[in-house]
Symmetry: C2
Subunit: 407 residues, 2 copies
Amino acid sequence: MISVQQAITQIRAAISSLPDVTIPIEAAPGRVLAEPISAGQDLPSLDNSGMDGIAVVAADTSSASPEQPVILPLVGSIPAGTNPEKPLKPGQAIQIMTGAPVPPGADAVIPVEQTNLDYSQPVTDQEVHIFAAAKPGDNIREKGGYYSKGDMLIPVGQVIRPQDVGLFATVGKAQVKVIRQPRVGLLSTGDELTPPGQPLEPGKIWDSNAYMLAALLEKSGAQVHRTGIIPDEREKIIEALDALAALPVDLLLTSGGVSMGAYDLVRQVMESEGTLDLWKVNMRPGKPLSFGTYRRIPFIGLPGNPVSAFVGYQIFVQEALRKMQGLPPAEVESIQATLTTPVSSDGRESYIPGKLTKQDGNWVVHPNQNPSSGNLYALIPGNSLIIVPVGVKFLNTNERVNVRLLD
Amino acid sequence: MISVQQAITQIRAAISSLPDVTIPIEAAPGRVLAEPISAGQDLPSLDNSGMDGIAVVAADTSSASPEQPVILPLVGSIPAGTNPEKPLKPGQAIQIMTGAPVPPGADAVIPVEQTNLDYSQPVTDQEVHIFAAAKPGDNIREKGGYYSKGDMLIPVGQVIRPQDVGLFATVGKAQVKVIRQPRVGLLSTGDELTPPGQPLEPGKIWDSNAYMLAALLEKSGAQVHRTGIIPDEREKIIEALDALAALPVDLLLTSGGVSMGAYDLVRQVMESEGTLDLWKVNMRPGKPLSFGTYRRIPFIGLPGNPVSAFVGYQIFVQEALRKMQGLPPAEVESIQATLTTPVSSDGRESYIPGKLTKQDGNWVVHPNQNPSSGNLYALIPGNSLIIVPVGVKFLNTNERVNVRLLD
């Protein structure tokens, strides 16, 4: 048996990073940044106003108070988006809006609330009454106050969030270089499988793993190419794998068909047409895991039981996708929680479906009572996997466990 | 001033729920389930094998041991997906694969590892040596052991995850009823705005809020309809709003243009052509928030500063989208963390960008030192918002704060 960590390490070592592509920033969320983003100019690019108000020379307002306002002539108005080149002279005031550039000569902005003006109407006043003194710099956002030209803003390897897209736009980028989206070929095999929506003959089951895995892959940002349900015939399996390989895809994924059973044709095909290692991973569920290549494309064979396939996806397939995108191994934050009922294990690292909630400010986790790895429903009421470490066979009510929250 | 909670309550009260639509299960992740999912049949539908092995009558194996194996004739093989009708007789054994139905008469499965068979090759043996005794029920997944026909499996209102898609397929559903995707019209206005990718004139800025908000909306599962950048002209704004209203959309969203400033034409248009409430919310950033209707379509006007727009999106727009989809107010889990440096506030409920990390097993949060609401870059190095409660003006290093992790 190999450890979970050894399996992850071997998978990562065998998977290559994908090339860069340039895409519109709108399409970038969830993708991995492949170029550093630096500032092409200072921001703010000019001193600008932090308030709707009037720009003044601060010294002119030093005596202002509600009882003794300073009265200055209004010489105009500066909307946002203009570039005032005419200097403001001492003794003058000019209307200014939030974000508008402060004119040369002005060194403070008085908020409109500290004047007699009403900005809910077009201003026709010829002069302004100022009720409070300003100091130089008041309500001015200084040129370069956020960042300076040349500053590094977002490093390579960032998984792009909406706020990053906002920053790409802020620095004027309409396109951005990201790692190409991983393409995954997903194979469904098995004479027992029937597509959902079609009537079920006795002894058959509806194909669920391929739908679940496709949804997991898409959530992880991969592009999924599915085969239909391939019958348990060697030639049909080769044909389906060849069609995926020709696209090409970056990873081939299947569940079931790869254990030691006599009908496990995927295993036989991989052993004759590609390479295949059958691993016994020291985990539960998901112990039998296969990893190999088909026409040089990496192949992961998850167990056929749906809970095993789900857990194997979380632990191994996500790492393969991370490696393709140049990301380091995931740092999975586990939450310490109190068990509501006992759990038992067989000494392997165990992942038991559970429901994590907060009670009176403390995390508690309720394990699923029917955790057969064949029972996908075990994953439905909960939101997490309880992790029982290697070597531990029993944990009692009120013991503390590490829990991995499923997103 | 109204509280954050009052603003959320008023927004939710004014927003209607959307109708149902039926979509393929592949398209369902992230959508809200609008029909209860119950079991159409027992699962497993028949007693089936939990292992690759041989099906037997348990009583026949009671004396089996490695030294004194029980030897039984092999009468055939049951792959998964078949429906064995012929009963197994006492004194017989039959090859069986994981998931295959247990034939009538058999009451236990012996794992292949406890026999002399080799399932990595087609089996040609006429008999099997059994090295361990079985009890009735061993390695058999009982009919209905996961759930029974009629059991409620997933309630209405579930936000659909990959595992839910897997369960839809498990119960044979190819399509599912969900709440229609919210359609949001996103308006960009302002003479100071330039589309990213185009050269910038002095005093202008690249439009970033619309890109950030579109990415946030798509992440929340909404369909986004964007206008281009609309100049500060009343007729152009009305034209753009009318085009969005005609689609129709379920919500109109804008940032900026809706405060008390003289150039805030969106406000003027809403006041004359629709309805508009200007709220002062007791929060920072994001105090000025407007909410109204345009041709009966709800309208939210976020502040124009990018950090304010971002925070307002998290707090208010997400609630509007939740209400449309019939979801209750979000229960946002905040994490208690230790401040690495002091933060100050003005007594409003404050949301300060921060970086949350775990150090030696404890959560610590590092506030951003340049939290101007005009500075989108403040959101980039971090992953969270530090929440300073109403009435608190200063929190020192090492004090504990609530932190909202941004996903």
